[in-house]
Amino acid sequence: MTITENLFENLRLELRRGCLTLAVLAQLRQERYGYTLRKALAERGLEIDESTLYPLLRRLEAQGLLASEWREEEKRNKRFYRLSSDGEQIFDQLLKEWQAINTSINSIL
């Protein structure tokens, strides 16, 4: 990888990081487990690696933004996540912030 490609990759990852959190929180307004969440995001054009998404869910839960529970579904135990009440509040604030940034960027571009 050249220096320019490496730089682009770092900046791309930086740009994606916050957006992924917002997308995950948005999708978890409805309860899902890891794999179905990944599929739902991919269907909307946002591919996330397993090694990024699953630890992200753990971090968001540790921060109190998500709540989770183990439940059996289709003869298999799965961990289901959904937005917590704190998560809902923060998601609303983040969404407003995102929309403001998006509007500003669009006007700048």
Binding site: Y33, G34, Y35, R38, D49, T52, Y54, L56, R76, K78
Partner: protein, 346 residues
């Protein structure tokens, strides 16, 4: 699927041990669901090669497990600015204290040979290393404690409500730090006073009252006289002043007086160390002698030793200050040169 179980087993080894079972169970459920989807799409189980390709896409077990680790660094970005500041402060003070202790040790042990001075300097890198290691260790412990505490901690460098711009330190002297360049009048005054000082200093041997005033009468009547080393010291002082004056006069003629004088200060300080070194290397600290040792030794011997020791200690302290100043100026010049090179490279 055996290959998936082997993969998860390898992932487990890199996970935080408290949460291994929980994370592996969740990963297993997610990956098995993904595998079922793949097999359903193909209408058959994956072949060994396909399964290996799929696991390769997931990343190595280490890659998969790494993001689950809570702390990936010893000193994180929150605490790092404070760490760097404390490290600089501690290392600077460690070197200063080390040099002062070495100078005192050399003076008290009465060993001013170059080997003894070099031996004292040899301790500096070890002192720096130990200081840096202890500061780093303390901050690693603080980082760990902060990362594992429930309450949120703000570093001292973070902006706070109590901070006031009035507390900012005054502008530092030096190039690029807000100091005005020397004016022409200032440069001319320096040269004039330099000539006056040199003329006065050259007249002192013939007219010692210019240096000690009426004390010259007591000096002539006293049983003491200066040792031959004083002549050599005197001419070295003349030499240092001639070099400094010539340099300043050349600056004035070339019109370069407003420029910083770091190089000049370094050269003059280095030359100035030679007469001080001469004084420190005098055997038995014999700067002042008795005119008639056979007659006066019993009466004035103790006073003579005391005078010579005072001169020796004064020379040692001045020498230490000059060395520190020299090191400081060299460091500053190197830093400026490095900054300029870095700026030019960018």
């Amino acid at each position: 699927m055996e290959l998936l179980d082997r993969y998860l087993q390898a992932v487990r080894k890199h996970l935080p041990w408290k949460r291994q079972d929980d994370i592996v169970a969740e990963l297993k459920a997610n990956l098995e669901a993904q595998l079922e989807d793949k097999e359903a799409a193909l209408g058959r189980p994956l072949t060994n090669e396909e399964a290996m390709d799929w696991l390769k896409q997931l990343g190595s077990p280490l890659q998969m497990a790494a993001p689950y680790q809570t702390q990936q660094y010893l000193i994180g970005p929150t605490i790092f600015p404070t760490y760097r500041y404390v490290l600089q402060l501690a290392c600077t003070w460690a070197v200063v204290i080390n040099i002062i202790v070495s100078v005192i040790k050399i003076a008290t042990e009465d060993n001013t040979s170059p080997a003894a001075m070099f031996g004292a300097l040899q301790h500096v890198p070890f002192t720096l290393l130990m200081t840096a290691a202890w500061v780093t260790l303390i901050f690693v412990v603080i980082e760990y404690a902060v990362a594992h505490s429930k309450t949120k901690w703000m570093p001292p460098t973070a902006p706070s409500a109590g901070w006031s711009p009035a507390e900012l330190p005054p502008l530092e002297k030096g190039e690029g730090a807000g100091q005005k360049p020397r004016s022409f009048a200032h440069a001319v005054t320096e040269v004039i006073f330099g000539f006056l000082f040199l003329a006065w200093w050259l007249l002192v041997p013939r007219h010692p009252y210019l240096l000690i005033g009426p004390g010259v009468l007591y000096w002539h009547a006293s049983p003491f006289q200066l040792a031959p080393i004083s002549v050599l010291f005197y001419w070295w002082v003349v030499g240092v002043n001639v070099v400094q004056l010539a340099w300043r006069s050349a600056d004035l003629i070339r019109g370069s007086w407003p420029r910083p004088r770091t190089a000049q200060t370094i050269v003059v300080s280095a030359i100035g160390l030679i007469p001080l070194g001469l004084l420190l290397s005098v055997p038995d600290h014999a700067y002042v002698l008795l005119r008639n040792p056979a007659l006066d030794q019993a009466r004035y011997g103790a006073a003579l030793t005391s005078i010579n020791l005072s001169i020796h200690w004064s020379a040692a302290v001045i020498c230490a200050i000059t060395v520190l100043r020299l090191v400081w100026e060299i460091g500053r010049m190197s830093l400026d040169a490095y900054r300029k090179r870095a700026a030019a490279a960018q």
